[in-house]
């Protein structure tokens, strides 16, 4: 792994983090750095706890060991209201969008503004329309969340995530289940938001192409460990078999096609058991 050193000027820094759910170790002493103003991607197969990592960074889950530093704050040492103040500056885009289903698009985007500011309604309107314009859905403001397609819902959620002008956004699987057009739109949107607003972006994804296209730095996770890291180019040329399998989508390799089982022939010949 002859890769460039991890970035220095980091906004989010995960140090020696361990976390397990039940008996399953999800993270085993991992350290990650997320540089200011850059797009950093975390990649890995499903079930490696990528979403869990975002929840740890957001302070919704507590690690067993290790620390998470966001903008010089140790997230898990903060008091409740300090954590809430920090979260106002952290946007998060959930996989499902997590729009509030009893409000229309406009009210959803206005929600964080109304909860956290005492701005007059006319100013809220201006701000909401600006955010909706940024994601290209100003015309959809009257729609209810159940009238939106998946891609639109995600873009609305993105508009909501940037409503308070945060310093960073965490994207949880932004491309999953999207048609190519929405994928393209989201890729472009993430990149332009990052550049225009000077955000720090963390993308959790297993969509290799899209992520590699916009990420400045990539971490590849597997089995609770960081198995590869570097710029997209470096990752592409990584000597690690595992990383190669993942990036190229090979069905067999270090990650086996078969779930662990006893010998196939033995299994077929053993009779008298139901399973």
């Amino acid at each position: 792994m002859a890769n460039s050193a991890p970035p220095k000027n980091s906004l989010v820094s995960v140090q020696n983090l361990s976390f397990s759910r039940g008996n399953k170790k999800i993270f085993d002493d991992i350290s990650l750095e997320f540089e200011r103003g850059k797009i950093t991607a975390i990649m890995g197969p499903s079930g490696t706890g990528k979403t869990t990592l975002l929840k740890l960074i957001g302070g919704q889950l507590f690690p067993e060991q290790g620390t998470v530093i966001v903008d010089d704050n140790n997230v898990h040492r903060l008091r409740r209201n300090e954590l809430y103040n920090l979260r106002k500056r952290m946007g998060m885009l959930f996989q499902s969008g997590a729009l509030l289903t009893d409000m229309n698009v406009f009210d959803n985007v206005a929600f964080p503004l109304r909860e956290h500011t005492h701005l007059p309604e006319s100013m809220i309107r201006t701000l909401v329309l600006m955010k909706l314009q940024a994601v290209g859905l100003r015309g959809a403001r009257q729609l209810m969340p159940n009238e939106l397609s998946g891609g639109m819902a995600r873009r609305i959620a993105l508009a909501r995530a940037i409503a308070l002008d945060p310093m960073m956004i965490m994207y949880d699987e932004p491309f999953t289940g999207q048609d190519p057009i929405s994928k393209g739109a989201l890729v472009q949107l993430i990149q332009s938001l990052n550049n225009i607003l000077g955000l720090t972006s963390i993308i959790v994804s297993h969509d290799v192409q899209e992520t590699a296209a916009i990420a400045d730095y990539i971490y590849v996770l597997s089995g609770g460990k960081v198995v590869g890291q570097g710029t997209p180019k470096e990752i592409e040329q990584s000597p690690s078999e595992w990383v190669q399998q993942f990036m190229n989508g090979a069905p067999d390799g270090p990650v086996h096609f078969h779930y662990p089982a006893k010998d196939y022939v033995d299994d077929l010949l053993s009779t008298g058991k139901r399973y």
Partner: protein, 260 residues
């Protein structure tokens, strides 16, 4: 045998941890009530979905229950030549028992299940989690207003149920069966006490509103965030509310009407 004991132990453990979570949840909910009072709009919206939408089922059921009481009461009382006390019988059974209990059961079925399903779905679709990440406390923003709305609606609904039931009993009693209307009301007034009957009935309905809202909201909040988990939680809300209401009713009745 050991298996059975193990299972028993495991079940006890689960129930106690659940009770602990529920108590913690209640404390958080109660501490969020002050912030609800600062934003009455949230409460108003919930009063609509919890109270107004239960209005029709409560009033119609109240009318029918009162009419049945009038009919049955008349048949029994006329055997003893005591038809004039029909009003007392109808009013006492409604105000003391049926009003609070039946309206609470209906409330659990109508509003409680809806609350559980709503909160459970919000959890399943990451809305609660998303709110937390937007630095909005979902307990304060979502749970507490609904809890307060349930607590306020229940005594009002129970009072409506009893009042309409008493009128229904009178319609049947003196309209159809010929009990003297004056006797119906005057016997009722001289035998029902404001403090012992009305206030105790109101206290009951407040207690039922408290536990039903608590159970419904907690089951939703604690639901496994899948469609199956939410549907199970909704069932549990109705079943557990019914058990709790009936059990508490016995205890409250024993405490309130015991020494006379």
């Amino acid at each position: 045998m050991t298996e059975f004991l193990q299972q028993l132990g495991r079940n006890t453990h689960t129930s106690f941890t659940k009770l602990g979570r529920a108590s913690f949840f209640l404390l958080q909910t109660l501490s969020g009530i002050l912030s609800v009072l600062a934003r009455p709009r949230l409460l108003l919206n919930q009063l609509y979905s919890v109270g107004v939408l239960s209005f029709l089922i409560i009033t119609i059921s109240g009318l029918f229950v009162g009419m049945v009481l009038g009919l049955q009461g008349y048949y029994i009382l006329s055997d003893f030549g005591a038809e004039e006390t029909l009003g007392v019988m109808v009013a006492a059974s409604l105000v003391r028992e049926l009003g609070p209990v039946v309206s609470a059961l209906l409330f659990a079925g109508r509003a409680g299940s809806a609350l559980t399903a709503e909160i459970g779905l919000m959890k399943a679709t990451e809305q609660l989690s998303g709110m937390e990440m937007m630095a909005v406390d979902p307990i304060k923003r979502i749970i507490s207003p609904r809890f307060l709305a349930g607590l306020l609606s229940m005594p009002l609904l129970a009072a409506l149920f009893s009042a309409i039931g008493i009128i229904g009993g009178q319609l049947v009693g003196s309209g159809l069966l010929g009990v003297d209307e004056g006797a119906y009301w005057s016997q009722m007034q001289s035998n029902l006490d404001f403090k012992d009957d009305i206030i105790n009935g109101v206290i009951k309905s407040i207690v039922f509103g408290f536990v039903t809202s608590w159970i419904a909201l907690f089951e939703g909040y604690d639901a496994i965030p899948t469609s199956e988990g939410v549907s199970r939680a909704t069932t549990r809300t109705v079943v557990n509310s019914a058990f709790t209401i009936l059990g508490l009713d016995f205890i409250l009745t024993a405490l309130m009407f015991g020494d006379d």
